[in-house]
Structure formats: structure tokens, C-alpha cells
Symmetry: C2
Subunit: 349 residues, 2 copies
């Protein structure tokens, strides 16, 4: 590997000057020598030895991206968003899966600090960052897609209220008056906010809530199936159901269909997440997409601000997304589409 010494010799200058030209863009060096050095560096295929660089500067240009066993299928898209902006600023991502035991978690973080990573991004982890902030030894960090209700722990999350309102209002605008709801497990902030948005949107439209057509599940298909069965026992059936995620919406649609009713003609359904299943089932599910890529970008941006501008971390950042109209809501009924032609704004699949 060619070092700074080789470049210095080739350009006929001292290593100090080479270093200054190659790393400090604004140090006063005559234009002629500058060009000569850049030329030589290029010719020799020089690239800086990061080990030496970070030993000296105590910065590694590496960000630890931390996942755990609860990180979902959403994580890859979030990571792409992170990388898109981090790479652009010259940072690499050290991606690690946090082990189960809190004890070994500390060890992993310790190890990462040994690698002198410049910051941490926690992707969908339940790791109690706030309590172990000392562990991070003052390095900045960001949390994506998980919310802790400590005041000084910053998170980038979907704007659940805004996004959920999109879905409910869409049904209301289509003329639905009796709209049911299937929520997620209560320990998730997303469950809470989505339900709240439903209640608020209904109230804003002057529509009544009816506990008979409000139920809950655990995010998974069978629980959506069962929740819908419970709702279908109501004397007065809803004309539409908002479901807190697509998996449960899928289960709910099955239950409705097994009851001999049609979706969306008899009961319209709207889901959340833009899950793979929503694109391929029959009918395809109208759903609220998650702004995953954007969330990654924003979290990385947050971290970069802390890193370069010594900016204070944002407390919470809420990202808006959009409603993807498919068949299950009735707006596109009769239009048989095999695969969705919807393309995410970020260009991802």
C-alpha cells in the first residue's frame, strides 16, 4: 500500500504538506504544489490508512448500526436510507446484531467503541439507550422506528397520527359512516397513536364510535382473522374496517370472505405498512406506507448534524407518508390489477 510518504517523495514535498492538501481543504498551500500533490496521489493510487488516521484523530468515519432480534423486515429499508446519506458523507456502517443478554450487549458496545466508531444508530432495538448512555461514552446516537418516552432520547418515527388519519379520512370521504377498527398490541406507540388518530378522525367527522366493531390483535395474520370474526358478530356490521397493519388486514379479509361477504363491496378494508402481502393478496390492500427509507435518511442526517455541527439531538422527528390506494377500499374496485404499479418515492422496491 502506498503511504503518504510515497506521495510526498513523488511530489517533492514533506508529508505534512501532503496531509494538509489531502485532508484540510482550506490550509494555505500554493496552488502549484497542491496540484502536484493531488496528481502524485492519484498516480500512485494513494488512499489514506484509516487505522493511522483514526488513531491520530480519534475519529474513525464509521457509524455503528445496531439491530437486535426484534428488528423487523422493515430494517433493511431503513438501513438503506441510513447508508444513502452516511456514505455520501464518507462514513461507513458497521452493522451489528445485538445479542440477547444485556451483559453481552455492553460488551459489543464496548468493542464498537474500541473500533472508535463515531456514533450509534439503533434500528428498531429495544435497547434502553437512555439508561446506558454512559455506556456510549458521550458518542452521539440516533434511534429509528422505536420511541422511548424519556425526554432526552431522540427518535425518528413515522408520524403515526398524520398517517393514520389519511386512512380513516379516505374512508370517511368515500361516504362510510360505520367504520370499525382492529388495533395492534398496546405496548407499541404505533398502536396507540393509530388508534388515537382513528378516534380523532371519527370525532372530527361527527361519527360515533362503537366498541362492538373495535377489536385488537397482535400484528399477526391469525389475530386479524379472529378480531374480524369478533367484529362480524355485531348486530350492525361496519361498512369499513381500518386495520392497524397489513398482516392483520389480510387475516381480516379472509374472515370477511369466509362469512360470505365481499371486500370491498360489502366491507371495505384499509391496512398499514405496505407489507408485501398487501400487494399480492386478493383483493390487494389499500394501505398506509411506512416512510422507512426517509426515516433512515433523517436519522442519519440527525446524527451527522450532531457530529459535524455539534448540533443538539432532535427529541422526536415524525415522518409523514402516504396512502396507497389499492382494491380493498373500494376506490379502485373492479379494476383488476395483478401487481401494484406503485413505486415508492425513494425509488425502492
Amino acid at each position: 500500500m502506498t503511504t503518504i510518504h510515497d506521495v510526498a517523495e513523488a511530489a517533492g514535498v514533506s508529508i505534512a504538506t501532503v496531509s494538509r492538501v489531502l485532508s484540510k481543504s482550506n490550509y494555505p498551500v500554493s496552488d502549484e504544489t497542491r496540484q502536484r500533490i493531488i496528481r502524485a496521489a492519484k498516480d500512485l493510487g494513494y488512499s489514506v490508512n484509516r487505522a493511522a488516521q483514526s488513531l491520530r484523530t480519534e475519529r474513525s468515519m464509521m457509524i455503528a448500526v445496531i439491530l437486535d432480534n426484534f428488528s423487523s423486515m422493515f430494517a433493511p429499508t431503513i438501513i438503506r436510507g441510513l447508508q444513502a446519506v452516511l456514505h455520501h458523507s464518507g462514513y461507513f456502517c458497521l452493522v451489528v446484531n445485538l445479542p440477547w443478554e444485556i451483559h453481552s450487549q455492553a460488551k459489543v458496545v464496548q468493542d464498537l467503541l474500541g473500533h472508535s466508531v463515531d456514533g450509534f444508530i439503533f434500528v428498531e432495538t429495544w435497547h434502553p439507550v437512555s439508561e446506558s448512555k454512559a455506556m456510549l461514552s458521550g458518542k452521539p446516537y440516533a434511534i429509528v422506528h422505536r420511541l422511548f418516552h424519556q425526554p432526552d432520547v431522540n427518535s425518528v418515527i413515522p408520524d403515526e397520527i398524520y398517517n393514520a388519519t389519511l386512512a380513516v379520512n379516505h374512508l370517511i370521504q368515500m361516504g362510510h359512516q360505520r367504520i370499525g377498527y382492529i388495533s395492534g398490541p398496546s405496548e407499541f406507540f404505533s398502536s396507540h397513536d393509530r388508534l388515537k388518530a382513528y378516534e380523532q378522525a371519527m370525532a372530527a367527522a361527527g361519527l360515533a364510535l362503537d366498541k362492538k366493531i373495535i377489536s385488537g390483535g397482535d400484528w399477526h395474520i391469525p389475530s386479524g382473522y379472529r378480531a374480524a370474526q369478533r367484529i362480524l358478530e355485531a348486530r350492525k356490521l361496519p361498512s369499513a374496517i381500518v386495520v392497524a397493519n397489513d398482516q392483520m388486514a389480510f387475516g381480516a379479509i379472509r374472515a370477511i370472505q369466509e362469512k360470505g361477504l365481499r371486500v370491498p363491496e360489502d366491507i371495505a378494508v384499509v391496512g398499514y405498512d405496505d407489507d408485501e402481502v398487501a400487494k399480492v393478496c386478493t383483493p390487494t390492500i389499500t394501505t398506509v406506507s411506512l416512510p422507512l427509507f426517509k426515516m433512515g435518511q433523517v436519522a442519519a442526517g440527525n446524527l451527522l448534524n450532531q457530529l459535524t455541527k455539534a448540533a443538539a439531538p432532535e427529541a422526536e422527528t415524525h415522518i409523514k407518508s402516504e396512502l396507497i390506494i389499492r382494491q380493498s377500499c373500494g376506490a379502485a374496485a373492479g379494476q383488476h390489477v395483478l401487481a401494484t404499479d406503485y413505486v415508492r418515492p425513494d425509488g425502492q422496491a
Copy 2:
């Protein structure tokens, strides 16, 4: 951060001894001092400064995991497999997305070398490693889920022939005689091998091939739909169709159902990949799983062997997987299951 000097002082020895105890496990150091040093290191929360370490040793304990824009939804599982074994051996993964332009690709690799990564793992990339081996400056590498037909480029891929034969033989054993086939695009080795396995298995069972019931698609749902439509124009319909992936199988099932035929009663279908869609559509699709996690593990193992034992790279490693029996093949027909209860052997979802 506490350094080796702090530990040395606390233990009352020189830094050389500390280094020897902490990194060279077999260097002769009296048991008493050894314990004292380990104790001190622990008490002070010492962890080695990787920058200094890799500057000195020219090893970084980091492996570059390289993706590109063609990396599929399979990549995350492969990466988990990689990490499972790499982390276990003390390596971290620098995960990067290769940019489009070959020019900037070289730059990224150059940068990674600057970080003195110890090896490269290419995950589903089309990067022509063989041609640019010089670029990697002699570092070992492994390729996962992509096959290049150069003699000295090693790849870890599914054992397509074995796995595909599982599917075809299953149908044959169930008594099917007239079995159609929908293949993937010919530029993929997997398309080629899966088709070959079909032909061989049919021949081995003494069954004839009929071009009328063999068609092809581009991996995506609509192409499977159209391929099935073509097959359904045959005068003598097949009693079963093997489809080269689940997305196309899903499309094919739609086409069959729209024709008024039932799956699996009239035409059985078997797919590939254990795609998410195979678990949730109606009927659920019997499919050949991809040994993604295992492939990651094996590739990482290969690399580690090259790294630690200076072993020669394996040329090609073929990983066997298994057939997941669901509804679409008829073996479990009538058993209405909402979600599959199949659990991957690697414990992943």
C-alpha cells in the same frame, strides 16, 4: 478511554507484558502476573484500541460485506448468516452498497482497503470480481448467491439440482405424470439448473417432456400469470406445474383459478424460494426453501478458513435445502391453514 499503559501501571508490569497476555494466548507469562493483568484490565474496563491495533498488525478484524442494487430481499437473511459466524470469531461487518458506476465501485473498494478490511464478501452482486481481483489487493473474498463461471472464483450457492429435484420428485411420487414447467430468465444459473433438474427427474421417472406445457417468465408475478395462460392453451392440460419461483407460481395460480380450475385439485403447483407470498396466498404454496442463512454461514466459514488457516478458497459450495409442503401441491389439501407453522431450521422467521 483506558489504554494498555493504564493497565500496565495498575498491574505493575510493562505494556509489553499486558499486550502479550491480552492478545497472544500462548506466550510464556507466569500465571500470577497473567491473572493480575486480566484483573486490572477488567477493573479498568479496558478494551483494545482497534485503530492502533490494526495500524500495527495490518489487520482490522473487519470484513466488508458488499451489496449492490441487484441484491434481493434474500440478502438480509444471508447477512444474518454471515454475521452469526463472523461475530463469533470477533469480526465486525462493514456493510456497503456498491454504487452503479464501475468507476466508483473501484473507489469504494479502495476506501475499504484504506480501512484495511481483512476480507470481502460479495452478496448477490454482479460485480466481476474475477476481472478486478487485483483491485482487492490479495485480500481473500467469498461470493454468496451468485455464480461466476471462472475457475478460481469461489461461490456459495444453493444446490439447485438437488433442491429442484426434491420438488419434481414430490409431484412424481404423488402420481403426477404430466408435469409442466415455468422457468426463470435464462441468464441466471438458478434458472438453468432448476430446469435441468426438472428434465432429469422427468427422464429418470420415464416421463415425457412436452414443450406445450413448458414456458418461461422473468421471476415476477405477471410473467408467471402469462406463462400459465400459455400452458393452459395446450390441448392436453398438465396435472401439475413446477414453477421456478413463488412469485411466478402465485401469478400462475391466479391464471389457473381464473380459468375456472382449482389448485391443487385440478392442477397442482409447486414453487421455489419460500417467498413471503407463498405463506399467505390461497392456496398456500408448496415450495423449495432457499438455504440463505446457511449459505451466509458457509461463506463466512470459507472466508475465515482463508484468513486463519490460509486455506485455499473453495471453488463452489452447493447448499442443500428442503421442500416445504403446503396446500398448492395437494398433499395437504383440505387442511385449511391460515399461516404456515413451518419454522426454518436456522430459527429465522
